[in-house]
Symmetry: none
Subunit: 134 residues, 4 copies
DNA sequence: GTGGTCTAGACCACC
DNA sequence: GTGGTCTAGACCACG
């Protein structure tokens, strides 16, 4: 897993780690049961403080994405959101709405927007497939 | 335009204003050339400090969404991103990717994801149409 | 309100602040609606970092003892535990058990233990009365 | 003696062992001169690391609750605090004060507080009696 | 001015 | 070795 921190983007470093770990899971680089990089080694490679990585992992655990065993390490949970389907769709709709608003401001029409949604979804799915076979 | 501030959401008030103005434009409630509410009246109706609204408008101007005419007020710019199409698509792809990652963590499959993308886009488009005719 | 920090007691500073604020409320030095000392002034007088006091106040708010209004200050809540009576008694029993265990190790018999319980309760109640009249 | 470790309570495991041993003595399960379980068997039955149990015993010895005879094992000391009575009462008063403060925040009045103090003391005394006769 | 967040260093608990 | 906590400095959001 290759994380890339963008200092000076305004986005907190720990949130960048959170999002990239979630993206790594969505793209199959990390799968259920896999161990995440240790806090100290990762902090060293990213050139940030140990606590910054620890905060990211704490947030990921709070979101139910990983589970941590003190003294053992942190592991990707075999995903299973405890929410009901309609609640999950509602959450996703908020995320999609943000993209829709941006599409309008970037003057992208519906056909192109939907095509982009399909393309990007496929891109992640393909990576997962490749990782599963690899 | 009806803005709704959610205290206790963690999200800064001025950013809530920014996002809701952008959403209002995307949904046709505000169109190119329209005047935004004055800073003082809006601050009063939202029960927030004038500085907070001023900061939101400053941010919107920095993003090229509105323009301020000293002594006249703030107006929605006749949208026209100065970026080339491929750059605009690339920006939107980042936003779509976030939704795709969340879809995976919320266990939403491709067909449902694409359907949601269409639905939400239509929802905004319909509102624009209605506003244009209204 | 006079807070006294005991460095080198092993007990975290922020917890000492939490307990002393709660004791101040129990003894009537602080009453419902009263404003707590501001974070920065208190930190200065205790010679600790601002964040240490902030953490104590955060914990007090989590316990429902105070409520904080950003930009305004922190205030003592008009106490009202949301728990049912039996739950409250159970919580208190744990605290009492600790005292009972220590009583045995300090070779204090029942009559003296109960007398101490009455005396210390009266002591706090008297202080509350004096503060209410004062 | 039956110890129960509560992972996820935030309280360090070794301190849970310390407190439960002291409670076992207060409740008569362990009496002066009794041998404590060996470090290795206890660690195995609790499923914790031997170092953790060793640390708990070291702490108990530092508090004067038990004594270690190299090669023989650990034994409960025939309790006899070396402190003068007023010093012992002062120590206990601190513990009682904590309970009093909590009683106020839990809205428990004096009569109930004193009743609880008697009840919990009796509970431990009864257990001691039963253990002595058993 | 208020409280809140992010990053960090030092230290602790546990395996 | 692992993760977790406490304290701290600098900066941000808000009134």
């Amino acid at each position: 897993m290759r994380l890339q921190i963008n200092y000076g983007s305004g986005k907190p470093v720990y949130l960048q780690v959170v999002d990239q770990v979630k993206a790594a899971i969505a793209s199959g680089v990390l799968r259920g049961g896999d161990a995440l990089p240790g806090i100290r080694p990762l902090a060293e490679s990213l050139r940030v403080n140990r606590n910054t990585v620890a905060k990211a992992y704490t947030e990921l655990e709070a979101q139910g994405v990983i589970e941590t065993l003190a003294g053992k390490g942190c592991f990707v949970r075999a995903a299973a959101s405890p929410l009901r389907k309609d609640a999950r769709v509602r959450l996703l709709a908020e995320s999609v709405d943000e993209a829709v608003v941006q599409a309008h401001h970037l003057q992208i029409d519906k056909s192109e927007f939907v095509r982009l949604a399909e393309d990007r979804f496929d891109r992640f799915a393909d990576q997962r497939d490749r990782a599963a076979r690899g």
